[in-house]
Symmetry: C2
Subunit: 345 residues, 2 copies
């Protein structure tokens, strides 16, 4: 307990009167070690407070039971929730999660990937499929498993050469659900507040899906009616201000996520626009707060915690069985609440 430095495997071996090999085996495959030897080793470990050195173990084994995840930011409940799901599930399987963010900076992503590779992670999880060639090269060369979450290529895959498994949502369908709902309510003039679509396939596909349904109903969504704003309440507010300058003004707005949608709602409330009478708003995510505010937010529910859990499972089976990657598409659902209704006649 009060040795000068932490105990090593040979200290345990000495105290238990066995070789280090046996201690190692007692730890990794207890069944091949005689019960009373095992007991002596157990006692020695307890009295010394021995904790194995993971670096040495990783070096000897060639893999570290480590997974690296890179999310755009943790400062968004949806990513935090997904990370939570990932972490809990990996942790239960004896893996640790190394977590980093790139704050929507593609160059930062490459650097973060390099940092993770230096830690000899067994796998890397990225958000979305939009990554720089440098990032993807780095991962390919190092031969660690790659998994992309939040996206699902769907039938019309964007890049067939992209071999990485994905676990995510049908982001186009999110836009479609929003558009269909608003169209059926009777809306004909639409606006969209999206996050930046550059380097963000999720945002792009949501807008695409929204536009697609409108087109099927013979409605064209002009470029000017789609505004891109930084993530945050202020982005949502600024987006609505811009849309309200259009003539004729939209009667319904689809927002790329709930934070933008709530910013949009707050701005409407602040400037005397009645929601949903004068303006309908549909978001995406279903944050816990979305159902609490007044009026409560109509949104597309995304099971983000479950996303983290499923991603972890796919990762684990990839790493264990060396099984072929199995992509997954998680179910999403439109939740109709107070911010959407028929347009003012």
């Amino acid at each position: 307990m009060s040795t000068l430095s932490r105990a090593r495997i040979n200290d345990v071996a000495a105290l238990a009167g066995v070789s280090t090999s046996t201690v190692s085996r007692a730890l990794s495959s207890p069944d091949v070690v005689k019960p009373d030897t095992r007991a002596r080793i157990r006692d020695a470990i307890a009295t010394l407070g021995y904790v194995p050195d993971g670096s040495a173990r990783a070096l000897a084994l060639g893999r570290g039971r480590l997974v690296g995840a890179i999310v755009p930011t943790l400062d968004n409940a949806i990513f935090a929730r997904a990370v939570q799901g990932l972490q809990t599930t990996l942790s239960d399987a004896g893996y640790q999660l190394l977590i980093s963010s790139h704050e929507y900076n593609p160059a930062a992503e490459t650097e973060v990937v390099r940092a993770l590779l230096e830690r000899s992670v067994d796998a890397i999880v990225l958000v979305g499929v939009d990554h720089t060639p440098q990032t993807l090269d780095l991962i390919r060369v190092s031969r660690v498993a790659l998994l992309e979450m939040w996206t699902y290529p769907g039938s019309a895959a964007e890049g067939a050469e992209n071999a990485a498994p994905v676990v995510g949502f049908d982001n186009r369908e999110i836009g479609r659900l929003a558009a269909q709902h608003l169209y059926e309510l009777g809306h004909r003039r639409f606006g969209v507040i999206s996050g930046f679509t550059r380097q963000n396939d999720r945002a792009r596909q949501r807008v695409e899906g929204f536009r697609q349904i409108l087109a099927e109903h013979g409605i064209r969504l002009p470029e000017a009616n789609v505004v891109e704003q930084p993530f945050g309440y202020d982005g949502g507010r600024a987006g609505l201000k811009l849309l309200m300058q259009l003539r004729p003004t939209p009667t319904a707005v689809f927002c790329g996520n709930d934070v933008l949608a709530m910013g949009c709602l707050f701005e409407a409330q602040g400037s005397g626009i009645d929601v949903p009478r004068q303006l309908s708003i549909v978001g995406c995510d279903d944050l816990p707060v979305s159902s609490q505010i007044t009026p409560s937010l109509t949104t597309v529910l995304l099971p983000t915690y479950e996303l983290g859990v499923r991603t972890a499972h796919v990762l684990l089976s990839c790493m264990k069985d060396d099984a072929p990657p199995e992509s997954e598409c998680l179910p999403i659902e439109l939740v109709v609440r107070g911010t959407s209704g028929p347009p003012d006649a």
Copy 2:
């Protein structure tokens, strides 16, 4: 680029025509290597796509430039923000962050600490000072640096034997600020909605500080007026329901954090209680959404991102200079907004 496995330091050495020692030196102390040797090595690294193996490095060096942080949950914006600050700052200094959560389960915390120690982290960051003896023993025995954040012992230290540096807030002062504000508005009947105080020194101290100021004004806060609820909007709602059954009913409620405060506000709105005319509410944290809702939330602003950044700095100086730990107390501030006002006369 297309070798069967990733390049090692000896591959680089061979290609550059030097020894591995020189490659290693070129990486760690470039100034002692002749410029053209360095250039050849740089080229070799580039053509091979060499990424050093962190496990081997950590084993040879005895430390891994890894920091482990354990937060109660990531599913709370304040922890996510602090982690974000930690991660960004550590990353800039060449350290990686291993992140885990224990979901308010003390036994889980011990297991997570063990898992982190196995990864040979150089330091561990915990939230608060309430930890099981097992957790603290494990850390003490392994001789990694320990830092506790979110708490500041203040003049009346709880446990003088606790040698770990802390970076945090004066949680008693949070309660004092809330109480003084509400008292000055004219309130005399108070309620408190707190998270569970067991194993949570922050929650406990906030309530203590609140109670202390009331006592100084000759007001006793009965035990029944302090309700403990699980973290979340539903906890805040349930808390208000309980407080409203008291006779006489409180005219002002202090909530241990903004999520509880918003739940309390939503419940009040849902049951026709006019805030702030019939009920004043004060929260703690100042989440981004707190200033956006209507009425906006009176709260005690806690710089949580800054907390992560400062924690990282203290950690880095601890690890670099082996300097004596320097605890820090970050400034907090009452922000008066729409949910607090004079009581209905």
